[in-house]
């Protein structure tokens, strides 16, 4: 008998015995890195206040998750990166001059109510950052809809381009500088402003296989197509599709919020249906709804429909495999 073999303790486990290097942390921190350009441009346009706000929401999200982990006597999940993403995304949804305490309340709603009460990471039905944004929007409407002027020293606030359209019509905007919109030089929340920064981050996510482009493209495509139809019908009442594309939270929502793995459908067909639904609702709310901005409502409504979409997808899959 080989003496060596007696020394070796063999572990019996289930196959496969080789695994990829992918992990939850790796995905989450990739998303965080992809959000950095957006955070950077918001600091450029709105000054250090934007950075402090981001840090406050991120820290309080991690803190609330830590508390919840301790109360529920679970393994610590507060550092897996998902709470940090919620924090950063929440900050990107807020105006830079929002009082800090309101931001902390937002973090509480995001982590405790919309994530941990549903069972923590993987079990939440709605995107936590969006739930918090909508909560704040309904609770503090005036603070949440007066946006500071970018690159200004004085605290001048006003409505976002979409807000102006909603209240005063397209004509009130005057001539539109689309390059400024693309770069992010307009009034809006931290992350709503720069389409360029968001596209940079999205490119990183896509190259790292953290998102598929099915949801963002069908989302944006539907919104643009829908608003385009109405622009062609009457350009004096409806804003051009490019304005809808570059203003508001469409870019941020489509690339970073609708693609949240936990709250979006799993498979290709479902994702496209989800994206089209989001895009349609966004356009409907923007054109005919009471609020100037519809991305967050659209995504939240579609989040609720995800189980149905997945179920439909599963059914049609099994039909495909039935014997002829």
């Amino acid at each position: 008998m080989n003496a060596e073999s007696e020394l070796v303790q063999l572990t019996v486990s289930y196959p496969p015995y080789t695994r990829s290097h992918e992990s939850i942390e790796r995905i989450m921190y990739t998303v965080l890195i992809a959000l950095l350009p957006a955070v950077g441009t918001s600091v450029y346009f709105f000054g250090p206040r934007a950075l402090w706000l981001t840090l406050v929401t991120t820290a309080s999200c991690i803190g609330f998750e830590f508390l919840s982990n301790k109360l529920r006597k679970r393994d610590l999940t507060c550092f897996d990166g998902s709470a940090a993403i919620t924090g950063v995304l929440l900050a990107l949804n807020l105006p830079s001059n929002l009082p800090y305490w309101m931001a902390v309340v937002g973090a509480l709603v995001a982590i405790i109510i919309s994530k941990e009460l549903f069972g923590g990471l993987g079990y939440n039905i709605f995107n936590p950052a969006l739930v918090a944004r909508v909560f704040l929007l309904i609770s503090f409407p005036s603070q949440m809809t007066s946006w500071p002027q970018p690159l200004s020293v004085d605290v001048v606030t006003g409505a976002s381009p979409l807000g102006i359209i909603k209240s005063d019509g397209v004509a009130a905007l005057g001539t539109i500088d689309f390059w400024a919109l693309f770069a992010g030089n307009m009034r809006g929340s931290l992350g709503e402003t720069s389409a360029l920064a968001i596209l940079l981050g999205a490119a990183l996510l896509w190259s790292r296989n953290c998102i598929s482009l099915r949801i963002p493209l069908s989302f944006i495509g539907t919104t643009v197509a829908f608003t385009w139809i109405f622009y062609l019908i009457d350009p004096s009442v409806y804003a051009p599709p490019l304005l809808h594309l570059l203003s508001g939270g469409l870019m941020l929502g489509a690339f970073f919020m609708a693609t949240d793995m936990v709250t979006s459908p799993l498979a290709a067909r479902g994702q496209i249906v989800f994206g089209i639904g989001c895009g349609l609702l966004t356009a409907l709310i923007r054109l005919f709804g009471g609020y100037p901005e519809g991305v967050s409502f659209a995504i939240l409504i579609m989040n609720a429909v995800v189980p149905l979409i997945d179920r439909w997808d599963l059914r049609s899959r099994s039909r495909y495999r039935e014997a002829a």
Binding site: N2, T11, S13, P16, I24, D75, L121, G122, R321
Partner: protein
């Protein structure tokens, strides 16, 4: 040479292929001091021992006879004395009946065996008989008796015979070496299989693109024969029976169907070699080519091993281990089985034995599913693995069948990619076991109900 290219479409992964023994020629492993030959090296009923302790046997002599049609004969791998008949460790992870033989070193063939003949002189019945007598089974891992596979129900017409040269599992190279070194024999085995069906079926050989040399050597052996050669993409699980059939013929096997339902018959490389040995050389299955690999093995080799050779002896022959390992795997790293003992023998289905240090497995913890959808993306069967796990964990056994557990072939692609390191395959296996138990209980209940009126 350019070859037709093809691949299966749905899902698939690219694990690191780690074919460390690619360039190691097949070597003959010297006879060990002891051979432990299990009586069940196949799917179906175990063979029944027909020798008793103390008997002298010759190589190729029948020591276990097939118990019924779905079973396979077992032969003495060498000449020697029967030392023991009893329970021994088995690669399935349990104990099973085995015959222990002490080789006498002469390695004499049983009279009447090991005679070269021309298979074209034999009738189909004779060929089938020879394959059945030789105890040939599917040597890729499943171990389904080959004679059963070669006798499909009369209403099923086989029009395509496929040689599975994909060998998509990482580490394993035994089929690759066979295709390089025994290409004539492998192709002849394939021809023998094809000759059993009328009208003459289409014969296709599928080989993965990372085995260009095998493509060439099989191409050379198959020259001027009615054999099509197809280069398959290097993608796991290209060698899965259903994937291979879809890749090569475009046919899809639906729920509950078997390959012969779509007119296909798939044979593994090692099986084709064994078929040729049994038919044209009259040699029962007593040895096979096996890869012994893993980063922690000193000399990694492709070996001709006698069935029943214990891993511990091979390990010694390969120079032992360089580092401490914690897993011994029979088969490939994706679909193999972890062993608890080094005393397990090489059987008809052992295509590879891996010695690996997998201590990082201990640090994996089942995290909640984040619904990233990667398992769905990679599932070659188009299943929703996350949902199967969910149902299995919640014990919703009554709902299980409708979610298609039976379609899962446990290729492990989902577990491989899962970022939450969930044991997806384990849970699916568990659910299958639960379902089988429920089905058995239902059946038993039905039977007792049926008997009551008589009593």
């Amino acid at each position: 040479m350019a070859f037709k290219k093809s691949t299966f479409k749905m899902g698939g992964i690219h694990p690191p292929d780690n074919k460390l023994t690619r360039d190691a020629p097949l070597e003959v492993m010297p006879l060990p001091a002891l051979l432990v030959v299990p009586l069940n090296q196949h799917i179906g009923k175990p063979a029944k021992a027909v020798v008793s302790v103390g008997d002298q046997v010759k190589r190729g002599q029948l020591i276990g006879t097939a118990d019924g049609f779905v079973s396979a004969n077992v032969h003495a791998p060498t000449s020697g004395k029967i030392k023991l008949i009893g329970r021994a460790v088995h690669p399935s992870g349990q104990y099973a009946e085995a015959i222990t033989i002490e080789p006498d070193g002469a390695d004499e063939w049983e009279a009447g065996l090991n005679q070269v003949c021309n298979w074209r002189d034999l009738s189909c019945e004779e060929i089938r008989k020879r394959i059945q007598d030789a105890g040939v089974v599917g040597m890729g891992g499943a171990g389904f008796p080959t004679h059963v596979k070669l006798s499909p129900p009369s209403n099923k017409k086989i029009d395509t015979v496929i040689l599975n040269g994909a060998e998509c599992e990482p580490f394993l190279t035994s089929d690759y070496r066979l295709m390089l070194e025994k290409s004539e024999e492998v192709v002849r085995g394939l021809e023998i299989v094809a000759s059993l069906f009328n009208p003459t079926p289409r014969v296709i050989v599928g080989i993965e693109a990372n085995k260009k040399n095998a493509l060439k050597s099989i191409g050379k052996a198959a020259l001027h024969k009615q054999i099509e050669l197809v280069e398959l993409d290097t993608k796991y699980p290209q060698g899965g029976e259903k994937q291979l059939i879809t890749a090569l013929t475009g046919r899809v096997i639906a729920d509950g169907q078997l390959p012969f339902d779509v007119g296909c018959l798939v044979q593994n490389v090692a099986t084709c070699f064994a078929i040729d040995e049994s038919v044209s050389k009259l040699r029962p299955l007593t040895e096979r080519a096996t890869t012994f690999s893993g980063f922690e093995l000193k000399n990694r080799k492709n070996l001709w091993v006698r069935l029943g050779t214990r891993i511990v002896d091979v390990m010694e022959f390969c120079g032992g281990l360089t580092r401490k390992i914690n897993q011994l795997i029979v088969g490939g790293p994706m679909m193999g089985r972890a062993q608890f003992s080094f005393d397990i023998p090489v059987t008809k289905t052992t295509s590879g034995v891996l010695f690996i240090d997998n201590t990082e497995l201990d640090s994996f913890k089942d995290r909640p599913c984040i619904r990233c959808g990667r398992c769905v993306e990679v599932c070659p069967q188009g299943e929703l693995p996350w949902l199967l796990v969910d149902k299995a964990m919640r014990q919703h056994a009554d709902q299980l069948p409708s979610y298609g557990y039976s379609r899962c072939m446990e290729c492990g692609s989902c577990s491989f990619v899962c970022p939450a390191k969930r044991e997806i395959v384990h849970w699916i296996k568990y659910a299958k076991a639960v379902n089988a138990r429920i089905a058995a209980r239902e059946k038993a209940k039905m039977e007792t109900v049926g008997k009551e009126p008589k009593a």
